[in-house]
């Protein structure tokens, strides 16, 4: 067995990701921007580094990166949430006030929806929350099981001027999203129709529903609709623990939605995912401060609970991402770390390297535990033409998959190539993030974006999958990737965020000063040119709650 020591375990804690000072966290809740502050709430166990005793943790920031922890916002003190204050979402009313809808697990463990609001609207920190005395405002409707009714969305306006929300559930094995209209958030009318349903996808958790612009790169407030708008339905699949989404059309008249492509409907095996790694229970919000839609997501651990107990903490939030429709493909979202993350960039180094088949090149950037990497790759045209025209190069694009085709050491004609992050000098531990370009039977090339964590750690009590998926590459585009490395989390964004992969890795020797960065090209035949910049990243210094800490942030 591998013996963890405290020095290894303390290195795993991140420097610029949001995490509580200690103990367990899961879903993001009710993110919003109010009176100059970004608010973040989250599912939190104040008592242990494993799930249990769930309350709403709370933190504020000016920039989504530098946070101050605030006191717990809501605890389980009512019969309708005594078994847990579970996930919820915020809605802004036209007068600028906030309502929060959240799921409570009642004293009988029935899932109900409850209403809460800030006690003092003049307090920009929103420290105190009042639970509506008439709670619960919604109980499971007939035909829905008492434990299949959770995670209300942010409300949006109907053309009739009512508010509308959706709540995930299931009917037998069909994942569904129920729809309710309300005027005052206290009484609700259930629509006879469902927002959407997909057979054999199981319980839908943490449904998210929002508009995206077909033409512009900005985000849209949740109520926006019109001819230039598509709507996204996202559900977190209880059965597989993946966040799936689909692009489609919303019908205001009856509160229904249909996917553009029914063969990749929400939750189907082939449907799109926000992220192909460790990423679940995400929630977006419209940031009226910067006119963008921002996505939060819970990133759980891939180590053992004994390590979590020893570390004293479990789970992170991913770096918040802006999310927009890919106006070039029209078929997928693009996600990108919020621009504020650049404020953490320290010194940078630029590289322009040509790497032949089978090479591994150390990239000298000093310590490599906190990095932001932006890279462009170009396969040498001569190699490319040779492969495409060569009938003896086996067509493999149809069969290839990151997960099943053996990872970064299995060499093909045109890949894999990319970076090994959190690597030791000898590469005894390393986490490769890479492209694999495969030729199809039609001689067209298909590009895959993958992260291989199978050699990320010599420890035997951590999960080390190979993650990834296909990534759309349009004619004339170079291959691009961005990687954020922050100790035990690696977030990778392919082709500007068309395909994203978040991994948790737990190296034992590639830590502190021994964590290195390498560029590699494991292709058999192709020479690749890599142009890239690597930034050292500062810590975000997330502070415990104090007036001084809040004042310090408010000066920024």
């Amino acid at each position: 067995a591998f013996e963890w020591n405290n020095s290894m375990l303390s290195w795993q804690r991140t420097a610029f990701h949001f995490q509580p000072e200690q103990n367990w966290m899961n879903d993001p809740n009710g993110p919003l921007f109010y009176k100059g502050w970004y608010h973040f709430f989250y599912q939190y166990n104040p008592n242990a580094a494993v799930w249990g005793d769930i309350v709403w943790g709370h933190a504020v920031s000016r920039d989504l990166i530098h946070w101050v922890h605030l006191p717990i916002a809501m605890v389980a003190d009512q019969w309708y949430d005594s078994n847990g204050v579970w996930t919820g979402s915020a809605t802004f009313l036209p007068d600028g006030s906030i309502v929060m809808l959240y799921t409570g697990s009642t004293d009988k463990a029935v899932q109900v929806q409850n209403l809460a609001y800030p006690e003092d609207p003049n307090d920009p920190l929103l420290l105190k929350w009042v639970k509506f005395p008439g709670n619960p405002v919604l109980v499971p409707p007939p035909g829905i099981l008492p434990k299949d009714f959770r995670d209300p969305t942010t409300a949006w306006k109907t053309s009739e001027g009512k508010w509308r929300i959706t709540i995930g559930s299931k009917l037998n094995k069909t994942g569904i999203s129920l729809v309710y209209d309300t005027i005052d958030f206290k009484t609700y009318e259930k629509l006879d129709t469902l927002l959407h349903r997909v057979p054999n996808t199981g319980m839908w958790e943490c449904v998210d529903f929002y508009p995206v612009s077909k033409t512009a790169g900005n985000g849209l407030d949740t109520s926006v609709n019109g001819p230039d708008v598509k709507h996204i339905v996202k559900a977190s699949m209880d059965d597989t623990r993946f966040d799936h989404y689909a692009v489609g059309t919303y019908f205001d008249s009856n509160g229904t939605w249909i996917p553009d492509d029914p063969t990749i409907d929400v939750g189907m095996t082939a449907s799109l995912r926000y992220d192909y790694g460790k990423f679940y229970a995400s929630k977006s919000f419209y940031d009226q401060n910067k006119g963008r839609r921002v996505l939060w997501s819970w990133i759980g651990e891939s180590d053992s609970e004994a390590s979590d107990v020893q570390k004293g903490w479990s789970s992170l939030q991913g770096i918040p991402r802006t999310v927009v429709l890919d106006t070039k493909t029209g078929k997928n979202l693009v996600q990108w770390p919020v621009e504020e993350i650049k404020s953490l960039r320290l010194s940078s180094k630029q590289f322009d390297l040509e790497v032949g088949p089978g090479s591994v090149v150390p990239v000298d950037v000093g310590s490599a535990a906190q990095l932001d990497i932006e890279a462009e790759f170009e396969i040498n045209k001569e190699s490319l033409d040779k492969i495409i025209g060569n009938a003896s190069v086996v067509a493999e694009a149809e069969e290839f998959s990151c997960e099943k085709s053996g990872g970064s050491t299995v060499r093909g004609a045109l890949g894999p190539f990319g970076f090994s992050v959190l690597a030791t000098e000898s590469l005894s531990e390393q986490t490769p993030v890479y492209f694999y370009v495969a030729k199809g039977k039609d001689s067209e090339l298909k590009t895959f974006f993958c992260t291989d964590t199978s050699r990320s750690s010599v420890a035997n009590d951590v999960v080390k999958p190979i993650y990834g998926s296909v990534v759309p590459v349009l004619k004339g585009e170079k291959l691009t990737m961005r990687i954020l490395v922050d100790h035990s989390i690696v977030e990778a964004f392919g082709q500007g965020g068309r395909t994203c992969i978040t991994s948790r890795v737990y190296p034992t020797t590639a830590i502190y000063g021994a964590a290195k960065l390498f560029l590699f090209n494991n292709a058999l035949d192709a020479t690749v040119t890599a142009s890239f910049t690597v930034w050292q990243m500062n810590s975000a210094f997330i502070h415990p709650y104090s007036d001084e800490a809040v004042r310090a942030l408010s000066r920024t």
Binding site: A1, W51, S105, G202, E205, Y280, S304, E305
Partner: protein, 182 residues
């Protein structure tokens, strides 16, 4: 009683039935109740193993390092996995219970691995792995937790598929660790 049909869905019918029949609550319990009984068995076995470990410190002082690690792992089962699983089931969110149950098998395997092949705890480890796997399967049966594509979504796992359970293997300790949301 639902004991027999439920146990048929597990990788070890005989063990499952004998554990559940040994508890007076078994005959009238629902699926969640059966899971709680098995979690009690995990707790009992972890306590017994910890006592054994404590005794071994005197008998086999040369094993101190491995015993220290085992002690820590079994304390995790008692202080984290078991309470997490009990709370999750009683609050109606069994998947977190499943996480605790899977982890119990993992911790036992890690302990066992520390003895370099000459473990004085082999039989206790195997018992823990078996109970962990049976309990996990109970989560699948009657869909306390629905079937999960652990084979397909975690292709690098060394899976020893029996029934619908993802089983922890001793040689190559791998496990699926997911979390749910609400």
């Amino acid at each position: 009683s639902i004991i027999e049909p439920t146990c048929k869905e597990t990788p070890d019918f005989n063990l499952c039935v004998s554990l559940l029949n040994s508890d007076p609550r078994g005959s009238s319990a629902d699926t969640s109740g059966l899971a709680l009984i098995l979690i009690d068995k995990i707790k009992g076995l972890a306590t017994k193993t910890l006592n054994e470990i404590n005794g071994l410190y005197k008998k086999r002082p040369e094993l101190k390092r491995a015993l220290d690690e085992c002690s820590r792992r079994y304390k995790t089962i008692l202080n984290a996995d078991v309470p997490e699983a009990i709370e999750a089931i009683s609050k109606g969110v069994p998947k977190f219970g499943e996480d605790g149950v899977i982890d119990a098998g993992v911790e036992a395997s890690v302990c066992q691995g520390g003895f370099n092949g000459s473990s004085p705890l082999t039989s206790l480890t195997k018992s823990m792995q078996k109970i962990s796997n049976v309990t996990r399967a109970i989560f699948y049966s009657n869909s306390i937790v629905k079937e999960e594509a652990c084979g397909s979504s975690w292709p690098s796992l060394a899976l020893n598929i029996d029934s619908k359970a993802c089983v922890v293997s001793l040689q190559n300790i791998q496990f699926n660790r997911g979390r749910t949301c609400w």
